[in-house]
């Protein structure tokens, strides 16, 4: 998946996360903030990186501001931001394939 522009998905509301994906080089640069980062930071990082890997995002600057999101929400927001950044978020989403 090619990152063509900056993609943002999510909100700063409780139980949500705000994810921003921008063009980058030399792999994934992830910046994560969360009120539960000490307890769940490593787990959240793996959910985010696995989701990006499934989508084939290789080079990007990824910023995640977590507000207590469940894994399913975190994945949805990363996918939303990535598909928006690739300008293909509206139709023919690979449900059950790269999105799962």
């Amino acid at each position: 998946m090619e990152i063509k522009c900056t993609g943002v998905a999510g909100t700063m509301e409780s139980s949500d996360a705000m994810v921003t994906i921008e063009q980058g080089s030399g792999g994934i640069q992830l910046q994560l903030s969360s009120p539960v980062i000490h307890r769940f930071g490593n787990h959240m990082r793996s959910v985010i990186l696995e989701t990006l890997d499934r989508l084939g995002v290789k080079d990007a600057v990824v910023t995640v501001v977590d507000k207590g999101a469940l894994d399913c929400t975190l994945k949805a927001r990363v996918e939303g931001a990535a598909f928006r950044a690739a300008q293909c978020s509206e139709e023919q989403i690979p449900w059950g394939g790269a999105v799962r």
Partner: protein, 301 residues
């Protein structure tokens, strides 16, 4: 053969905005019969894409503990409904609610895409049920045609806000503006053998008005009501669940009709009321509803 869940208990259907993770993560704690995950009016036009990702993962990963998952898709006059159907079917939604349904052809249009999606995502053909929301005078008048349009259709729901706008009136709180549509829809739904659901009651400060309206639609024969707040659920369940005295009476009616029939007796009395075969189906329905609601453990149904 019809889907086994086509006529399941649906007293309460609670609307939830798919775009709000805090709302969709654990609504089962309020124990509605169904939740209605909304991709339509509750989701802003520029958030339709993001809401689908949330919906997909919610359907796949959250255990709603037996609560039926209905999804309201966007209207057939928008660019969104086709992808809405793909995500609903891929995610395993139980029912798709078609908004602004005006005729049987609208149901056929959705059904075609649902079937294509079931084939695309390897879901059993016919496993995705449909319901239709009637939001216009034209839709209400075509209710019977809509009810008969598909074997997947579980029922029809009145959408009072849009309907009364089309009728050139508004929600008055008296219910008078909805009387004709409600009566017409319940008759058509029963004629077609499907369920019928009432519109939302949005004045959360008027719980007495909500109770009166729920009692009215229960007496009219509706199967349940669309809801906007969990506080409304226990009131609907209380009104739509058969009372103990009704269950006891229904048991007697069924047992007496079965035994008198064998003796060649057609009409007799139970607790001082005249009873004949015409009461049989109604009594059976009371017991089935009571069993589905978990308040009857007998074996007469």
């Amino acid at each position: 053969m019809s889907h086994p869940d086509k006529k399941r208990l649906r007293r309460s259907m609670m609307f939830l905005n798919c775009q709000k993770p805090a709302l969709i993560k654990d609504p089962y704690i309020y124990q509605p019969d169904s939740i209605m995950l909304d991709l339509e009016d509750a989701v802003a036009e520029n958030q339709k894409d993001a809401a689908r990702f949330s919906l997909y993962h919610a359907l796949r990963e959250i255990d709603y503990r037996g609560v039926e998952r209905v999804v309201r898709i966007n209207g057939l006059d928008t660019p969104h409904w086709k992808e809405d159907i793909r995500v609903c079917v891929a995610g395993g939604a139980d029912v798709i609610r078609i908004p602004k349904c005006t005729c049987g052809a609208d149901v056929h249009t959705v059904e075609r895409d649902v079937l294509a999606a079931e084939r695309e995502f390897g879901r059993e053909e016919g496993s995705t049920l449909l319901m239709a929301a009637l939001e216009s005078c034209y839709g209400v008048l075509n209710c019977l045609e809509i009810c008969k349009a598909s074997d997947r259709l579980i029922g029809v729901a009145l959408s009072g806000g849009d309907y009364t706008r089309d009728l050139q009136t508004g929600i008055t709180g008296t219910g008078v503006e909805l009387t004709g549509a409600r009566q017409h829809m319940i008759i058509a739904a029963r004629a077609a053998g499907v369920q019928c659901f009432d519109t939302v009651f949005t004045n959360l400060g008027d719980m007495e008005g909500f109770r009166r309206e729920t009692e009215t639609i229960h007496m009219m024969g509706f199967d349940g009501k669309s809801l906007v707040n969990p506080r409304q659920i226990p009131i609907v369940h209380e009104i739509f669940t058969p009372k103990e005295k009704d269950i006891i009476f229904a048991e007697k009616v069924v047992q007496e009709i079965d035994s008198k029939k064998a003796q060649g007796i057609g009409v007799f009395t139970v607790d001082g009321k005249m009873i004949d075969i015409a009461f049989y189906d109604g009594a059976k329905r009371t017991l089935m509803l009571a069993k589905a609601a978990g308040v009857y453990g007998g074996n007469l149904v």
